[in-house]
Amino acid sequence: MPPTNTAPIIEINGINKSFGAFKVLNDLSFSVAPREKLALIGPSGSGKTTILRILMTLEGIDSGEIIVDGESLYQMQRNGKLQPADDTHLHKMREKIGMVFQLFNLFPHKCVLDNVTLAPMLTKGVARKDAERHAMELLDMVGLADKAKSMPSQLSGGQKQRVAIARALALKPKIMLFDEVTSALDPELVEEVLNVLWKLCRETDMTMLLVTHEMGFAHDFADRVLFFDRGRIVEDGKPDEIFRHPKQERTQAFLKKIIAAGHRV
């Protein structure tokens, strides 16, 4: 459950983002409490994935401000003045955040174990022995300890995604971003990935932001659900409120469409 009365770990204040003439995020503001599990739902093109990509510094913002763990993500103090973040600042900020992608983005030329150990060894100077021990714990947690020496090409989509989750966890981020992590999977492989997310949700202190079309899972997983449409938050509330008693017409229409498409809510 989200703790109350603590400073938010993520604060998003009035950010705008356009791709060409298309306005993806429109004066968007929200904040996330430490340890909160947040589900971001909404039609495609509504900006929910862009939010995650901006938090991971894969996209910049046009205007507005983002505070992560007390520090501005895209700006830094230098000589008493706020300036655009440099590589060192971004490097420091990225240490707090991990991301799992829709298409896994594993390194195809490295075995499962090396996929997981590479980042801690390179970015934190962890010794190979320690990195491998930690990686094996993580692979065990996602149920793939026996695949440590396999190449990604030998795994199913669900297995790949579980490796990708272990890889992101290896850096021990405070915040984890999950970008439609089951959307590219065959239906019978979705559950094994959701089970891992479920385990993380219950067993860790991480703040988690989940962009998903799995409404049933979002309902059970999240402390809070944000419904996005056209770059704005249309509705923000507890899962039961959003899924059972949506107030906004657009939320109702979206959920109706999703249910018609056969998703469980």
Partner: protein, 219 residues
């Protein structure tokens, strides 16, 4: 028959020079290819300009002219090179310019998602390049590198023009001494082809080794 054996020995001596040139030229070409190929992708504009200037200049002028510059003109500026040094320099710089575009193209062809994974895992630019992008791009470069090496082997015949006694030079010597064109030129035809085949096989072997496990078929 004994007479031909002596001439064959001459040509084989030339083959050693040709192989030396090819190996050393290829080594220089490889270094230049990565320097210029990565240079063209640099975030620093002058580095990009320098790399582009190098590539365009050495692709755009003839290897023959470059070789004559290296051997006959550089001494006028105080740089005297042996024929072998001049040959390696001209061949390496010339073929390196072509191969630089191969390096650049291969790196550019690695999907955006790999770069994004590098950012998400907090690699700096060099770490991502070194551990994620280049190992995958190198496999893609290999077949064209093989072509480049074979091109270099064949282009190495121009060094006979600066009196380096490579295989082609020796064939001309034999032809002058015996009056036979068939024997020396058939011999070097076969030898060039044989060396090219060795390059081909070596590259293919390397490619197989490096792609093992990449697509799940070749494990």
């Amino acid at each position: 028959m004994g007479q031909w054996a002596g001439y064959l020995q001459l040509i084989l001596d030339g083959a050693v020079v040709t192989i030396k040139l090819t190996l050393m030229g290829s080594a220089l070409a490889l270094v230049m290819a990565f320097l210029a190929g990565l240079g063209r992708l640099s975030h620093i504009a002058p580095v990009r300009w320098l790399a582009t200037a190098y590539i365009e200049f050495f692709r755009g002028t003839s290897i023959f002219v470059q070789l004559f510059w290296a051997y006959f003109v550089l001494p006028l500026f105080g740089f005297t090179l042996t024929p072998l040094q001049a040959g390696v320099l001209a061949l390496g710089l010339n073929v390196g310019a072509y191969a630089a575009e191969v390096v650049r193209g291969a790196i550019k062809s690695i999907g955006k998602e790999q770069y994004e994974a590098c950012t998400a895992l907090n690699f700096n630019r060099w770490q991502g390049l070194r551990h994620v992008i280049l190992p995958q791009a190198f496999v893609l470069m290999l077949p064209t590198f093989g072509n480049n090496a074979i091109e270099l082997l064949k282009a190495s015949a121009v060094v006979s023009l600066i009196s380096l006694s490579d295989m082609t030079f020796q064939a001309q010597v034999v032809r002058a001494q015996t009056g036979s064109t068939l024997f020396p030129f058939l011999t070097i035809l076969i030898l060039y082809f044989a060396i090219a085949c060795v390059i081909s096989f070596a590259i293919r072997g390397l490619e197989r080794r490096l792609t093992r496990g990449l697509d799940g078929m070749r494990t």
